[in-house]
Each structure stands twice: as structure tokens, then as C-alpha cells.
């Protein structure tokens, strides 16, 4: 059994939450964001609160610091913080949210870090100013001393040149550096408890691994209690001592991390874990045609964006978003493209469909009725003829459906422009498509806002297969969905692949999804493909250094693999 030092000796509880309820008055009603939740954290312990969106996990975290946004309020329960001398307890709920008493606790005894490192620091104040301010707020030291300590803190969170960094602004740092600065700020007064609200969600996996390692390391050094909010079971497995699962504002289950992953007690937990673990293995493949027949072949594709265009002047530099990519997609095949943000993977997908016009290179496409065309050099008009068979599914199901059109209008739009169907025929086709993607057929006169994210993504898929789809470019189709919905959508896509003989170019940052869904995978970094091959092979035996880092950084939903973590 792998063990961490803290795990075997959980300290006495420093914080106890009893029967916490939080309500939000909304238009004509009340929303119970948190319902009767109780838990505690011990000194040096990491408690992970996990749940899907709307589970109330963030509200719970905020309630501890009395940071619930208006008009929400704590309606019941106590939050008891053990006093420094260990003698008594302070009920934070009773302190209210504005007075000196609660301010004495915020930042000094309980500190918090947030999801968005990009916007959690003031853009108009230097990093140093923001850290020293916290120190000066809570401790009687002079400015020079505060600054010295701030520099030490930055050094501690491994920000290079800490002295110089103090005088920089947050926008001059990368996301990972900002999160480090945030952590430095949170730690500036040696808090007893650190609340981390999805601190790594917005970061790339490699950065996430570094930040998680840093938090663990600091916790170990200082013996802090950490309340870690996340939706990612992989992260939970990596960092938690104990886990609390929440669903719709209620506590579902609380258990030791190992027990939870091994023997989840509640049906919801089991379902949640099930859907995650399902993505840990490749899905069963549909039969593939014997001979590999290409449907699209990308050769030496480049796309450059001009930087700093003047009023009339020439651009001073170019961003090489795609820098010489070659890739072949065969009929009936799913090719994954994986990479971190900024790697050019989404741009690649869009360039194939000529949302962007490539700077150079070729994209040969074997048409359904025969013949090969170069997508990179077709005119817009010629491109139009292909829009019925080369389709796209977007990442954000909210943004990709026009909120001002009915479902019927949305799905029938490609039919209208690519076929000669009559209105009546289209109505029938839309009905069939809706049924096919698992939605009731009678919803076609509703508007997208009536549907949940998963349902909307199904509508997107229906639109994609409306005409005579052959190649679908799926740009992170599951990233915006809760984990429990992901494999449902992927399975639907897979079923359709079998049915229509579809090929997919599947773009994702999530290696697990790629592994589940794809046959081959290309790993992209800075506009280039660094490695390419069979998905299992690349995942299990990555060749390229970057691929190795990428794959090893992915937190696996198995606490037993914890020691293999980087850092």
C-alpha cells in the first residue's frame, strides 16, 4: 500500500461543519444550494469535495469563509473553527459576513485559492502589492519586512526571480505562475486551513500536475488542513485523504479515499465512478473496412496569423498556429488529436473546413461520389458542395445552437441548403434524426434554452448527420459536459459511426476520452504533430518526451497510483 505521511495520522478536527444549509432566493422561489451538510477536517488532512456542476460544492466552500454571493445566505447550521489554543471553538456562521471577527479569520486562519488564476489577481496592482497587503492586514510588520516575506513566499512556490516578480503584474505571468502567486498569497499568513476551489481546472494537465504537487508539498511542510473542491475524480484520487461526494446540494457519501474508490456505498457514487472508469479503457471498436482507404489526407498544412496589424501597415510578426501538419484519416476511422491549450488542435479542425484559409499545404479529400479535391484551395462556392458531407460538432453546446431558432430550424438548416427536400420531407427527417440521437421527436418546435447540455450536444450531432455525413470533425465534443454524460455522447457518436461508416477527426485535450474513442492519435504541440500512432500504443508506450510528460501528468482515477505522480 502506498502511503503518504499525513494519511496515517489525521489530526484532530480543526473545522467542523454541522448541518449547513444555504439558500438562494430566485425569481419566485428558493433554491436550496446546500442542504444539511455536515463534515469536518483535521489538521494536516486533505478533504476533497467532489461533485458535478450544481452539486453545491463551491457554495459549501464559500460558506466557510462567509463568501456566499448575494442574495444567498446560510439558513441553518454551524461552522466551528477550533480556536488557536485548542480550548474552544468559534462559530463562523455567527460572525456574520462583514465584521472584524470574520476578517480576522479570512486570509489569516483560513485562506482560499480559486479556479481562475487569470482573474483572481487584480490586473492593475503588482503581485508584490497584493501579497504584502495580506501580510500587512494581519500582522504587525513594516513594509520592508512584508516585502521580504513576500519574496520568500514567491521563492517557496518556485517562481523564478522572486524579487523581480514582486513588481510585475499578473497579466505578465502564465496561468500556472499566477496560480503559484495565488498560493503564495494564500499562504502568506500561515493559515491553518487552505480552501482550494477547483484550483487546477483551468490549467493544462502538465501545469495541473505541478500545482497539485506544490499544494501537497506545502501541506506537508506546514501541516495545513486542505479542503479541496473538484469535479475531477482523477485529481481526487491523487490528492485526497478523505472524500465527500455531493449531489444537488446534498452530501451523498463521505469516505476514506481508498474505500471510496474501492467500495462506493451509494448508487450515485457508483455511477459517477463507473462513468469515469469506463473512460479508462478503449471502447469496443466497430468493425473496420479491411483495406485502409483514405478519406482525407493533410500534407504540410500551415496557417499563420498576422500579429499587431497596423492601420495600413504590414504585420510585424506571425503566429504560426499550424506549422507543417501532415495527417491521414481513413474511411471509418477515428483519429484523435490531443494537445494542451494553444497547441493548434482546434485551429487545425477549423482549417480543414476552411473557417480559416490555410497559408500553405494541401488537404486532399476523397469525395463520396468519387474524385479527390484539395480542401485547402477550393473556392468558397466549391466548398459549399462539401458541407453536406464534411461536418463539425462544436465544444460548447450552448454557443453552437442559435438561441433564436427552434430545434427544427436548426437541424433543417443543412437540409435546406444541401438537399431539395420539401418542408414536409424535412419535418419527417428532423423527427427521424431526433429519434436517432435519443431525443423525443416532438421537441422540434422548442428553443435550445429548454434543453440541458447533454441534450443540446445530441441536437448538435443530429445536425451533423442530417445530410449525408462522411467525415465529422468533433472539436472537444464532451469537454463541456459533466463526466457522467460524456461516455453517453461518445457512445452515440460511435454508434453513428458504425451506422453511417463515418470517419472522425476527434479533437480533445483529454487523453482518456481519446483513448476511449479513437483508433489513432496525433499529439500536437505548438502547431506541430510530435507523435502519431495507434492510440493504445501512444498511451501506453509514448515515444516522444512531450507525450510522455503529457500522459504521465494525467491524474488517474486510482488512488493506488498516487506515488507515480510527478513531483
Amino acid at each position: 500500500m502506498p502511503q503518504t505521511p499525513m494519511q496515517s495520522e489525521p489530526g484532530a478536527p480543526v473545522l467542523r461543519v454541522e448541518n449547513l444549509s444555504v439558500e438562494f432566493p430566485v425569481h419566485k422561489g428558493l433554491v436550496h444550494a446546500v442542504k444539511d451538510v455536515s463534515f469536518s477536517i483535521g489538521r494536516g488532512e486533505t478533504l476533497c469535495v467532489v461533485g458535478e456542476s450544481g452539486s453545491g460544492k463551491s457554495v459549501t466552500a464559500r460558506a466557510i469563509l462567509q463568501l456566499i454571493a448575494e442574495p444567498g445566505r446560510i439558513t441553518n447550521g454551524r461552522i466551528l473553527l477550533k480556536d488557536k489554543d485548542g480550548a474552544g471553538e468559534t462559530d463562523i456562521v455567527a460572525l456574520g459576513n462583514r465584521g472584524r471577527a470574520i476578517r480576522e479569520i479570512r486570509g489569516r486562519r483560513i485562506a482560499m485559492i480559486f479556479q481562475e488564476p487569470m482573474s483572481s489577481l487584480s490586473p492593475v496592482h503588482t503581485i508584490g502589492r497584493q501579497i504584502t497587503e495580506t501580510i500587512l492586514l494581519h500582522e504587525k510588520v513594516d513594509k520592508a519586512e512584508a516585502r521580504r516575506r513576500a519574496a520568500a513566499l514567491l521563492d517557496r512556490v518556485r517562481i523564478p526571480n522572486p524579487e523581480e516578480a514582486l513588481d510585475r503584474y499578473s497579466f505578465e505571468f502564465s496561468g500556472g505562475m499566477r496560480q503559484r502567486a495565488m498560493i503564495a498569497m494564500a499562504l502568506s499568513c500561515n493559515p491553518e486551513i487552505l480552501i482550494a476551489d477547483e484550483p487546477t481546472t483551468a490549467l493544462d494537465v502538465t501545469t495541473q500536475a505541478e500545482i497539485l504537487a506544490l499544494i501537497r508539498e506545502l501541506q506537508r511542510d506546514r501541516g495545513m488542513a486542505v479542503l479541496f473542491i473538484t469535479h475531477d475524480m482523477g485529481v481526487v484520487a491523487q490528492i485526497a485523504d478523505r472524500v465527500m461526494v455531493m449531489f444537488k446540494g446534498e452530501k451523498v457519501e463521505e469516505a476514506d479515499v481508498f474505500s471510496l474508490f474501492e467500495k462506493p456505498q451509494q448508487a450515485y457514487t457508483r455511477a459517477l465512478l463507473g462513468s469515469i472508469l469506463k473512460l479508462e479503457r478503449p471502447a469496443p471498436r466497430p468493425p473496420r473496412p479491411e483495406a485502409e482507404k483514405p478519406i482525407a489526407r493533410i500534407s504540410d498544412l500551415e496557417l499563420h496569423f498576422p500579429l499587431n496589424p497596423g492601420f495600413m501597415g504590414r504585420p510585424t510578426a506571425y503566429l504560426k498556429a499550424i506549422n507543417g501538419v501532415s495527417l491521414t484519416i481513413n474511411e471509418g476511422e477515428s483519429v484523435g488529436v490531443v494537445g494542451e491549450s494553444g497547441s493548434g488542435k482546434t485551429t487545425l479542425g477549423r482549417t480543414l473546413l476552411r473557417v480559416y484559409t490555410p497559408t500553405s499545404g494541401k488537404v486532399d479529400y476523397w469525395r463520396g461520389e468519387g474524385g479527390v479535391v484539395d480542401l485547402a484551395s477550393l473556392s468558397r462556392r466549391e466548398m459549399k458542395a462539401l458541407y453536406g458531407e464534411v461536418r463539425m460538432i462544436f465544444q460548447d453546446p450552448h454557443a453552437s445552437l442559435n438561441p433564436r431558432m427552434t430545434i427544427y430550424q436548426i437541424i433543417s438548416e443543412p437540409l435546406r441548403t444541401n438537399t431539395d427536400m420539401t418542408e414536409r420531407q424535412m419535418q419527417g427527417r428532423v423527427r427521424d434524426l431526433l429519434t436517432r440521437v435519443g431525443l423525443p421527436a416532438d421537441i422540434s418546435d422548442r428553443y435550445p434554452h429548454a434543453f440541458s447540455g447533454g441534450q443540446r450536444q445530441r441536437i448538435s450531432i443530429a445536425r451533423a448527420i442530417a445530410v449525408r455525413p462522411r467525415l465529422i470533425i468533433a472539436d472537444e465534443p464532451t469537454s463541456a459536459l459533466d463526466v457522467s454524460l460524456r461516455h453517453q455522447v461518445l457512445d452515440l457518436m460511435r454508434d453513428l459511426q458504425a451506422e453511417y461508416g463515418l470517419s472522425y477527426l476527434f479533437i480533445s485535450h483529454d487523453i482518456a476520452v481519446i483513448r476511449y474513442f479513437c483508433d489513432r492519435v496525433a499529439v500536437m504541440k505548438r502547431g506541430q504533430i510530435v507523435e502519431m500512432g495507434d492510440v493504445v500504443q501512444v498511451c501506453e508506450n509514448p515515444v516522444h518526451e512531450y507525450t510522455r510528460t503529457l500522459i504521465s501528468a494525467v491524474p488517474r482515477p486510482d488512488p493506488r497510483l498516487r506515488l507515480q505522480m510527478a513531483g
Binding site: 438562494f24 481546472t201 438548416e413 441548403t417
Partner: protein, 380 residues
């Protein structure tokens, strides 16, 4: 969730939306906008006020007791009358007559309400004849004295003994239509240039943006004054009226162009627009069916907020003597008479058109605010 700090609120809102959705899931864009707009009580009230004002503008001839140019030397600067409902205990709407003394020393008529003279009034009475909308001749007036020759000045009279109520009502038509038509012109220019700017981007965008920046940096009054001074005077009043409209909209279009451009720019990159393009729809259909519906409500808001500026601008120009001129009656023309200490000290009712300006501008602003807030019912 891109806004984690409002995570809590957002979580709640999500649930909230689900509550709403159950009731409104069949609702179209306009249904949702109306639903959201209705919560803005002040805006709803303003909608009623604006509706009323335009109603008055539309039916000015009918609503005004007399022709706005009808003068009567006996009633120069006559003060407003008030309406009484009962005469000797029986129901008879009426106003009281005046007894007039000529003060030769001060060249002035002194009006005293004469309680003995009762002037019966009524609704839908016969009075001066007029051509309604230039279509048919009638002499029916909404309100007026039963005997049209008797004095009836609910808002007093001006220096020529003209009825301020009638003049204000007719001024409403000119001022409000200046706002509306002027904005219409601005809209055409603004939509075209803003659309080109936002949709095509590139050089056209930069050039148009420079022009807009430039126009917005010019102090408007000197510009208007210069242009108004340049207008040929042999032009008949109607032509002057349209020229003023053009002058006002020469500047007014920039705001609309800004809104249109902004929306086009963000829409252009929106996934659903890209999706539509990848559905193979034509450029025209893309703009008209997929992008424009997202613009309408924003444009309506921009228009509503632009009208009051037009009204105020007309008022200022007319006040400076460079806008509309008598015999055209607009609020601005009427307010020319207030730049006169006589009005302040002895005929404060001449300021009533000023109150109309304030009310109209306020109502349009609140209405525009409400529409703007409701314009995007899908935004959180």
C-alpha cells in the same frame, strides 16, 4: 463554468433557469425578451408613456382643440384655465371665463378668472375644420368648448394668444417624428456601415472605425450650427425639416454603427454562426436569418436611446434659431419663446413644452434601458 467566482450564484441561476425553462421552453426570442422586459417596472411604465406620446403625435389634429396657428389678440399671455365638472350641482364640464383689463402703462392684459362666466366644454366637439392626415375633412375635436368662439386655454396662451395646448400637441408630432425619422436615417447609415465594418472587418473596418472616432470627437453643436447655417433659406419648411433630420443623423449613426459592428464582430466568431456557415447557407441567409435576429433587440434598444438625443438636439438647434422656424411648430420652436424673461416671470406656462421634452426624453431613456437589459434574454 467560466465565472467561478459567481459559481454560487451561477449554480443557483442554473437551477433558476430550469424552473423558468419549464414554463418558457416553448417561448421564442420575443417571448423571452418580453418576459425579461416585464420585470423592469419603470421600463414598462415608460413604454406606456412613450406609447401615449406617439399616440398624441399621430392624432394631433384631432386631439388639439384648435389650429396651432390660430391667434386671438384678446388673449395674449392668457393663463391656463382649469376644468370644473359641476355647475350649480349638475354635471357640466366647463372652464371659467376671463375678465380682461388692459394695462396701458405696461402694454399688458391682466387676466382675472371670472367666476360668473361659465364656458361649457365637452368631448368630441365640433370646432375648426381640418384635414385629418391630409385625407379627409372633419371638424371633430377630442376636447374643446361647445361654442368654438369661446376662449379655451388649458395650458394658457402665448404672446399672440395662441393656444399652448394645441401648439404643444402639434409640436409633439414634429419633435417626436424628428426623433423617429432621424433615427431611421441614422439606422440605415449605421446598419450599413456598422455591418460592413463588423462583418467584413479588415481595411473597411479600420477605415470606418477611424471615421466614427473622428466624428465622435467633433463637438456637435458647432458642426450642427455650421450645417444649419448653410441651409438654403428658400427651402420650404418641410425641406428644412428633412435637412435638419439629415444633419442630426449625420452624427447619430455612429452609435448605431458601433452597436451593429460590435454585435457583428462577436457574432461572426460565434459557434452557431460558424455552424450555419458550415451548413452551407448563403451569405445573405447567414446574415439575415442567423445573425440579424440577434441584432434586432439590440438595435431597438440603440434606437430608443438615440431618439431622445435627437429630440434634445432639435430643441437646442431651434433654440439657437438655426433649426426649425415658425410657422412650423416643434417643442424646440416653442421653447424659443422661453428665452425671454417675460416667460419666466409672467408666463411660466410657456415652459410646458420643456416639461414635455423632459418627460419624453426620460421615458425613452428608461424604455431603452429596459429593452437593452432584456435584449439578450440568453445572457446570464
Amino acid at each position: 463554468m467560466s465565472e467561478p467566482t459567481v459559481q454560487a450564484a451561477a449554480d443557483a441561476a442554473l437551477l433558476d433557469q430550469q424552473v423558468d425553462a419549464s414554463r418558457l421552453q416553448g417561448a421564442s426570442q420575443w417571448g423571452l425578451i418580453w418576459h425579461k422586459f416585464r420585470r423592469h417596472k419603470l421600463a414598462v411604465f415608460s413604454l406606456v408613456v412613450v406609447g401615449f406620446i406617439y399616440f398624441v403625435a399621430l392624432f394631433a389634429e384631432f386631439l388639439a382643440p384648435t389650429d396651432p396657428g390660430r391667434f386671438d389678440p384678446r388673449y395674449t399671455y392668457a393663463p391656463p384655465q382649469s376644468i370644473g365638472l359641476f355647475v350649480d350641482g349638475s354635471f357640466q364640464p366647463h372652464v371659467k371665463g376671463y375678465s380682461i383689463e388692459l394695462d396701458q402703462a405696461s402694454f399688458r392684459r391682466v387676466f382675472v378668472v371670472d367666476p360668473d362666466v361659465t364656458i361649457p366644454i365637452g368631448l368630441f366637439v365640433r370646432g375648426q375644420s381640418y384635414r385629418m392626415w391630409g385625407l379627409f375633412e372633419t371638424d371633430l375635436h377630442f376636447i374643446g368648448p361647445l361654442d368654438p368662439s369661446q376662449p379655451f386655454f388649458l395650458m394658457g396662451a402665448d404672446r399672440l394668444g395662441r393656444d399652448m395646448l394645441s401648439r404643444t400637441i402639434h409640436g409633439t408630432r414634429i419633435s417626436m417624428s424628428i426623433g423617429l425619422v432621424g433615427v431611421g436615417l441614422s439606422l440605415v447609415i449605421g446598419m450599413i456601415l456598422g455591418g460592413i465594418s463588423g462583418y467584413y472587418g479588415g481595411f473597411a473596418d479600420r477605415a470606418i472605425q477611424r471615421v466614427i472616432e473622428f466624428i465622435r470627437s467633433i463637438p456637435t453643436i458647432p458642426l450642427w450650427l455650421g450645417l444649419a447655417a448653410a441651409m438654403p433659406r428658400e427651402w420650404p419648411p418641410l425641406q428644412v425639416y428633412f435637412a435638419i433630420l439629415v444633419i442630426l443623423s449625420l452624427i447619430g449613426w455612429t452609435e448605431i454603427a458601433r452597436v451593429v459592428r460590435g454585435r457583428f464582430l462577436s457574432l461572426r466568431g460565434d459557434d452557431f454562426v460558424i455552424a450555419a456557415r458550415l451548413d452551407g447557407v448563403s451569405e445573405y441567409r447567414l446574415i439575415m436569418k442567423h445573425m440579424m435576429p440577434s441584432l434586432y433587440s439590440h438595435i431597438i434598444a440603440a434606437i430608443t436611446l438615440a431618439i431622445p438625443n435627437m429630440i434634445l438636439a432639435e430643441t437646442a438647434l431651434s433654440f439657437l434659431g438655426l433649426g426649425l422656424q415658425p410657422p412650423i411648430v416643434s417643442w424646440g420652436v416653442l421653447l424659443q419663446d422661453t428665452q425671454n424673461l417675460r416667460a419666466i416671470t409672467q408666463a411660466p406656462w410657456l415652459f410646458i413644452p420643456g416639461i414635455c421634452v423632459v418627460v419624453a426624453v426620460l421615458a425613452l431613456n428608461f424604455l431603452g434601458d429596459g429593452v437593452r437589459d432584456a435584449a439578450d434574454p440568453y445572457a446570464k
